[in-house]
Symmetry: C3
Subunit: 352 residues, 3 copies
């Protein structure tokens, strides 16, 4: 009987395609959460910083930073999906569908959409589509992620392999649902920090975000707890000291948020992350590392039905302990160069 | 004249049985304080996390975590009671009497209920009953604590020794005052994170909370300041470097909050700390230590007049730098085993 | 084209006397920001801590700590004024003109009021008057600061040297604009933490604030990001490791806030910083340093038209890694003694 109430998480055998897992601990997002988030990353996008700015262009008030929404929903899925994960392998088809405001309550559920046992029979890959909803039942966010999960028993039979077909990128027509119709004339470029609007960016353009941030243990732990993410590798030095890296791993979401905040310098008007097409945590990040970032514009798109906003598809690259003046990412053979820690493919929304 | 305005705190001679000390700096608790608290410990109890969840079962909104209330009231008493303390010796008869909501303002007062000089004549034990009130004058919390306090002058005469008789545990009939009548049918076990309700726990049951957290200096300092607790040992490395431990001590309340947050894994429906019967900080905790926790159910009780909730009396044990799979606490002779840092005896409330 | 959108900041040549720079990223201050601030410094002034206390004496609710307002407005000016600064040389004529409440949105602008090239031709001093406004356009704060800024090209011609004449101290008649008419009878000294009101302080009085705080990297970074201050020296260890100090520098505003919070012990009723007459960051502060503080009363003043409040002019001195029992500041020759890090000349307001 003892210990039976402790959640030990799901193993590969516990998942079945079509299964829906409602995750625990709905969470009301408050201006307090926003303040803690801001103090951890220092974002400066005016829409998320100023009620007055947001209201001037058509929001009822400042929306919550898109990545707070992402990390919160992601965090809820951890105890059910990835507590026994060996690795988070990727994301796709991530879309932000409704603005979230302080006072909204987020809950999360995941549907298993794919399973494939590894050839070593000790683990397998689980694909889930995770959905975040507000207190009115509206879907505010959805994304697919896939993780490598341990088997409880390597002798368990393998399920039929089902690998979902995922979009290479979210269609422009699907973007911008979380953005109200903007009054462009009231969008103040000076207050926003840049005169460069959507049409001023071109495909191939590379932007060095120049600024950098050195991460501390207390900072990444605080951030990860804010999202109620319980993955042990981020918090337990006693256990990690026995592991591969001998130390705590920084949650990949911390690197995403940090790179996003740094990207203000060069993308100040890209106030909304509309979609994440894919993302790869190329190498681990640890406390003491200094994170720099740069972006490449890989596509620009009009959004059907919207003459107020446009979309830029960027590859946001984060590196550690080196600058980005030479735009480091991959070498001629396609391998990531030393120092690259994140390669994120996202659609950003800017005013036209 | 110089320095006369500096508070040097009360010494043992300054206390008299029956004396009431109104403590300074009332504090309005906000959703910001809740967010900082959450980011420091990562609690996941649904009632305190989600307005929607709390409202569904009968709360007007999410109540503030019980331990925020405890630490805030405790913190206010420090400058008057324990600025010259050598040790915090214990607590008893701690009861949470009214729910506290963001926007409520807490103030604190303490009555001296016992005094006993130590045989070394250099210090004595002071017993106080501390009461926390909200802005409407309602008592939200009360507890007894006793501390060993330095004498200003060892030659001062000893007061008559008065040692209060304290209850071994709070009576079940006194529990649950801070919990509105719950609509059990609306309590969603899936969202709460566990199907185990009050009746599913039995006396003698031991629960390994499994998760763990490594503490950083910035984290415990931030937590302790949040409570406006000014005890020097937590903040002043320059002075502590000359002391017994050569470093800053983690405030015991940080360990309590951390153990409570970890206890979600196994006690997810124990959403309310109704009373603390006693508590002992068995050994000091320092930055760099990794804290684990486990609980033993030592009593279960119905609460008279309440068919919606029941109470579990648990011994919540926190240890450092070792796991809890073997439920470490005391050896055959009753001595605490190495690594144990907290032994807390509390009444928890769960839905029936 | 690449990198052209990155803000590299203004150089000395980019400034002209009379030029007005509207700074980016207006910011709504929330109770969340207040909570983060409190958790970083631990201030205990009752007016800023308790809605009930503030309302009892005449405020509509607790005002935001004056230094949150200062650091926020200062932080907005950094990307335009001091991104290429070699040193922040001083402040003057800083006045707090309107109370700021949670929910207010602050924006900032600076007018260049002086320029003087250095004899080395590689840099020059820029004087700006920075103004913070709320969402109603009211000026809540203004101050002058001067910084040494690099030239882009040392061969650029020098501008006409214009050095503004700055007041040695703000006139008492200009103080107290941010304080409503107080109901002194409702000001509760016990709750405020001291029975010493304005008339109880005399010129020449020295107060050892006794308490101290050891700073961590995570703490000063978190504070500085909260203010959206982007100065690289505080955040980038990778770059700083190559520099003069081999480590990150603590933002001077962190030391000011810390000294202010420590000053509660001895100045508990000095609930409002009405003006900063001048300030000097005498030596750098680093993570690991323990900060102590003391104050000297250098002037007391009635405020014309106000019989509810009075003003104390204090020199608030912060030191590191030594106590203040001997009131360290300058030696006989006027040089700052070892350990002094801040010498701040401010007007504080107390109830009469």
């Amino acid at each position: 009987m003892t210990a039976s109430k402790t959640n030990t998480g799901n193993f590969f055998e516990d998942f079945a395609v079509g299964q829906v897992l409602q995750h625990a601990t709905p969470r009301t997002i408050t201006t307090g959460d926003v303040a803690v988030y801001n103090s951890l990353y220092g974002p400066r996008f005016a829409v998320q910083s100023s009620d007055a700015f947001a209201q001037a262009i058509g929001y009822p008030r400042t929306p919550v930073d898109d990545l707070i929404v992402f990390h919160t929903v992601f965090g809820k899925s951890v105890p059910d999906i990835s507590l026994n994960a060996i690795a988070n392998l990727g994301y796709a088809e991530c879309r932000f569908l409704e603005a979230v405001y302080p006072g909204d309550t987020l809950s999360a559920a995941s549907e298993v959409i794919g399973l494939r046992e590894n050839s070593n029979r000790a683990s397998g890959v689980v694909y889930v589509r995770t959905t975040g909803r507000n207190q009115r039942g509206q879907t505010v966010l959805e994304f697919v992620r896939w993780v490598m999960v341990r088997k409880r028993d390597s002798a368990s039979p393998a399920p039929e392999a089902i690998v979902p077909k995922l979009a290479e990128r979210v269609e422009p027509a699907m973007l911008g649902k979380a953005v109200p119709k903007l009054d462009r004339a009231c969008y103040d470029d000076t207050l926003a920090g840049s005169s460069h609007r959507w049409a001023d960016y071109v495909v191939g353009e590379k932007i060095d975000h120049a600024d950098a941030m050195t991460l501390e243990e207390a900072e990444h732990q605080t951030a990860t707890r804010l999202y109620q993410n319980t993955a042990k590798v981020h918090f337990n030095l006693h256990e990690q000291a026995q592991g591969q890296f001998k130390r705590r791993l920084v949650y990949g979401g911390v690197v995403i948020s940090l790179a996003r905040a740094l990207s203000f310098n060069g993308l100040a008007n890209a106030f909304h992350v509309a979609a994440i097409n894919g993302g790869r945590h190329v190498a681990p990040c640890f406390a003491g590392d200094t994170v720099y970032a740069w972006s490449e514009v890989v596509e620009t798109a009009e959004i059907p039905g919207r003459d107020d906003i446009g979309a830029l598809r960027v590859r946001l690259t984060a590196v550690k302990n080196r600058t980005c003046a030479d735009f480091p990412r991959q070498n001629d053979k396609g391998s990531y160069v030393d120092g690259v820690i994140l390669d994120l493919d996202a659609w950003l929304v800017l005013p036209r």
